[in-house]
Amino acid sequence: MPMPDNLEAQGLTEEEYGRIVRILERDPTPTELGMFSGMWSEHCSYKSSRVHLEKLPTQGDRVLQGPGENAGAIDIGDGLAVVFKMESHNHPSFIEPYQGAATGVGGILRDIFTMGARPIAVMDSLRFGRPEAPRMSHLVGGVVAGIGGYGNCIGIPTVGGEVAFHSCYDGNILVNAFALGVVSKDRIFRARASGVDNPVIYVGSSTGRDGIHGATMASAAFGSGGEERRPTVQVGDPFTEKLLLEACLELMRTDYVVAIQDMGAAGLTSSSAEMAARGGVGLEIDIGKVPRREEGMTPYEVMLSESQERMLLVVREGCEEPVFEIFHKWDLQVELLGRVTGDGFLTVLDGEQTVARIPARALTDEAPRYQRPTAAPDADHPGARAVSLSDISEPADLGRVLERLVTSPNLCSRRWVVEQYDYSVRTNTVLPPGGDAALLRLKGTHRGLAMSVDCNARWCFLDPKLGAAHAVAEAARNLSCVGAEPVGLTDCLNFGNPEHPKTMWQFEKAIEGMAEACRALNIPVVSGNVSFYNETAGQDIHPTPMVAMVGVMENVERHAVSHFTSDGDIVLLVGETREELGGSEYLATEHQREQGSPPGLDLERERTVQEIVREGVRRGQVRSAHDLSDGGLGVALAECCITGPSLHGADLDLQDDLRADVALFSESASRVLISGSAEAIGHLESDCASRGIPCRRLGKIGGGRLRIRHAGSLRIDLDVAKLRNAWSGAFAALVGETVGAGEGT
Amino acid sequence: MKAEVFVTLKSGVLDPQGKVIARSLRALGFEEVRDVHQGKYMVIDLEGVAPEEARKRLDEMCQKLLANTVIENYRVRVEGAEEGNS
C-alpha cells in the first residue's frame, strides 16, 4: 500500500491510514483523505475521550436531548425547553484573538438555533496567562472585544462568565463560549437526515479557503512557531449570522425542514456525514454548486473549508421553492446541492466527476477510539505535599492582605470586561453580570432561568477528581444562591496533550469526579466539548474542566442578590469553616505556594446546604446570598460590601477556634453567606439546626467600614468606599490602561 | 476599471482611533510621529463607463453613501482620470 507522504500534516497515523484503506477497500482520493483527516481528528471524533465520557450521567426526567446532537435540551415546564452547549475556541483565539473569540461565539450560537431554539444568552469562560506575559494584554483585549463584537452585533446578551489568570496559560489561553436558547419542547429540530430523494440545501455565506483544517489544528499542540498558523483562522460576520438566525427560525415555523446542521469544524464534510450517519441514510452532493468566495478551489478545500455562517439542510421534497423564498427574503445565498440516498454513502460529486464516496458512518461512529495509557503523578507532585500551618506565618496586617486579594488579578472587578458586552439586549436580564449567577426572566411565564460557569483549575491540578467535583458543586451552589434549582449542565473539558499519560490520568480522574458530583446532586450532563492538546513547547495547561450549569426558579421575582442590600440586616454564615488552606488563593497570592489538597467535599452536605438556601430564597427570607469560593470568607464579605449598587459596611466576629487567617481565607466548601432580617435569619438558623448543618451569626450590616474581629481584637478595619475604588480599577491597570474621564465609576 | 476612494475624518473632528495609533507608535519608539489620521480605503471595480464620467459617478457615490460629509472628507482616484476631492 503506497503511503502518502503528507500523513503527518493531515494528523493521521499510519495505522489510521491502514484502517481507511480497509474501509474503502482501496486507497483514498486526496479529497477522501482530507475528509477522514478532519473527521477523525481529536476535535471531531473524540477518539481519546469517548471511552471516558461514557461514564458521565446523561439521563434525567427533564432531559429531552442528551449528548450527540448539536446541543442538549432540558424540559423547564410550561411546554418550554432550554437548549444549551459550551465549546472551546482556544487555539484560534491564541493566534488571532479577536476573530478567534468572535467565531467561537458565532459557532456556539449556530449550534443552538440549529435546534430551533432562539438564543437568549451567552456566557464566556476565559483563562489567560500572567498579565505581564508576552502578548497577554493584547490577547485579553482582543478576546474580550471579539466576544463583544460578535454577540453585541447579533443582539444576544452576554450575561455572565468568568476570567482567570495563571502562568500555565501563558502560551495557551482558553476561550470557552456557552450559549442557551429557548424553544417549544415539541419544536426541537435535529440533525438526522431521512427520506430518500429529499433535497439537500446549502445556505449562508460563500465558501472560502479560511479555516481549512481548523479541526486538525485544534487537535495539535502549538510548537514554538504556532503563531505562524495564521491563514487557517476564520473571520466572523455577525451580520450574516443574524440574517441566518432569523431566516432559520422563520423556516422552522413551517413543516418543511427534515434535518439541519451548522457547518462547524470540518465544514461541509462533518455536517453532511453526521446528518447522514445519524439518520442511517446516504447523501449525494455536488460541490460544483457550492457558492465560492475564491477561484480555483479544489474539492478538498471546498469539503474542508471552515468558512463561518453556513448551514446544511434536508427539506421535504417539493418544498424547495418556499424554502428558497424565505432565505431570499433575508438576502441569503441558497443552493440545492443534492439529495438524500438510501445507500448509506456520502457521495461527493464535482459536476460529473465523483471525488469522494465514503460510508457515512465510517467518518463518524466508526472513527478510531483510543484507550490511551494513563499515569498517576509523581510522588513529589504539589498535590501530595500537605500544607502545614506551622510553615505558614500569620500576617500581622490582615486588612492589607484582604485588600491585596480583592485587587489581585483573579479577584478584582470584571467591569472592564463585562461593560464591553451588551448584557441587557432582549430585555430578560434580571441580574447584571457580577453576581453568583446570571438570572433571566422567561417572557410569557413567571419563571426565571439562572446560569453559571465555574472551574478552579488550581484545584483540578492538585487533585483532578476532587477539583472537577468541586466545579460541579460550585456551579450548583451559585445557582442556588440566586434561588434557582439546577437542572442540567454542559461542560468544556480543556486538557493538555492526551498522548501524555499524565494528562490522560487527569482526564480520567476529572470525569470520575464530575460524574460523582452530578449523580449526588442529580444533575445530568446534556452536552459538552473536549479540547485536548492545550500545551506549548511540551508544557501542558492545568486541567480545566469548565462546567456551565443551568437552573430554573418558579417565580423570578423571588430571587436573592449576592451583595448586601440593607443596613441593620444580620449576616449568617451557613456551613462550616475548617483548616483547609490547600490550593487556596490566599496561599498562592500571599505565600506563593500552590500545593496541598483542595478542600474536602461532602456531597450530601452540599446538597442540604443548597436546599436550605433555595428554600430560604423562595420564602423571601434571604435578601442576599453569596457563595464562598476563591479567597474564602474574607473575600466574600468584602464582595458583599462593595459589589452592589450601594455600599455597605459591616461589623463582624470570626470564630476563635481557628487562626484568624484560616478563618478568613480557608476555602472550605459548601458554605454560603446570607443576609436578612433578624427574624428571617432566625428561621434559617432553625432550618440549619434541624438538618444538621452548622451555621453562625457573624454580625450586622451598617456603617461605612468593614470591621472584622477575632479573639477580641479588631483585625480588619477598612473603608469600603476606598476598597471599592481599588477593586473596580484594578483590571484596567492589568491590561495597561488607565481609567479616563467618563470611564470611572 | 479600478477606482480608489479614501475617506478620512475632517480636520478638527476628533479622531480617537488616530490618537491611539499615534500614541502606540510613539510607545514603540517612533518618537518622530506627531499625529495620525486614520480612515477608510475602498477599491471599486467599475465597468462600462469612461474615466471622466466614472469620476463624477464616484463623487455622487461618496456624497450619497461612502462618506458622511458632516464629519468626513473623501478623495477619489480613477485610472486615467484626474484626482478629485470633496
Binding site: W330, S424, V425, T427 | -
Partner: protein, 233 residues
Amino acid sequence: MKFAVVVFPGSNCDHDVYYVLKKVLNQGTIFVWHQSTDLCGADAVILPGGFSYGDYLRSGAVARFSPIMKAVEAFARKGGLVLGICNGLQILLESGLLPGAMLRNRSLKFVCREVGLRVENAETPFTRCLRVGDRLRIPVAHADGNYTADEETLRRLEGEGQIVLRYCDEEGRTVPESNPNGSARNIAGICNAQRNVLGMMPHPERCSEVVLGNDSGRAIFSSMIESLAQAAH
C-alpha cells in the same frame, strides 16, 4: 394608538421595544419590514436599536436608504412622532432628520452600562410626563455614541431647546465623568426644531418593567402615548 416598529436587517432591539409597547403598555403595535413603502397608518414610528447592515461602512449609513425610510421621512415632515433609539438615532443622523453625526466612543470600546440622564426639555411629546432636571437611569449599549456637530449647530441645538437628554452623575451634574462616550456637551438625546423627532442613545425599552429592576424608561413611552391621545381629541 398604533405604533410601527421598523425592522431593518440587523435590527436587534425591535422585539424589545415591541414587547414594551404591546405587552407592557397595551398599545397597538406592528412590525414594518424595511422593504415596505408605507407605515400602515401608524400614529408613531420607532426606529429600534441594533446593528442595521452590521454597522458596516458607518452605523446607520446603509439603512437610511431602505425603502421604508422615504415613508418615515414623509411622516416626520408632516409632524408624525418618530423615536430613534441607539442605531435608530444613528439612522436619523445619517438621513438628515436630525443634525450632527456619530463618532466612535472616546474609549474606542463598546460600552454597556446604566447611565444617569438629566431631562433638559420636558416640553416635547417624548418627555411631557417628566420635568426639567429629573434624573433617569437608563442603560446605554453602543460603540458609536460620541455625538458631534459643528459649533454653530451645537449652539442652535442649545438655543432652541433641542437637547432633550444629557448624561449626568448621581447629583444630576452634567460633568465629563458622567459621559460614557465623549459626546459633545454630554448630549444623550436630541430632537428636531419641530419637536416631533427624537433620537437618543440610551435604551428606554430596557428599563420599563419593575421585574428588570428599573422602570424609569417607561416615562418616554408614556409621554408619547399621552401626546398621541391628546392629538386624537
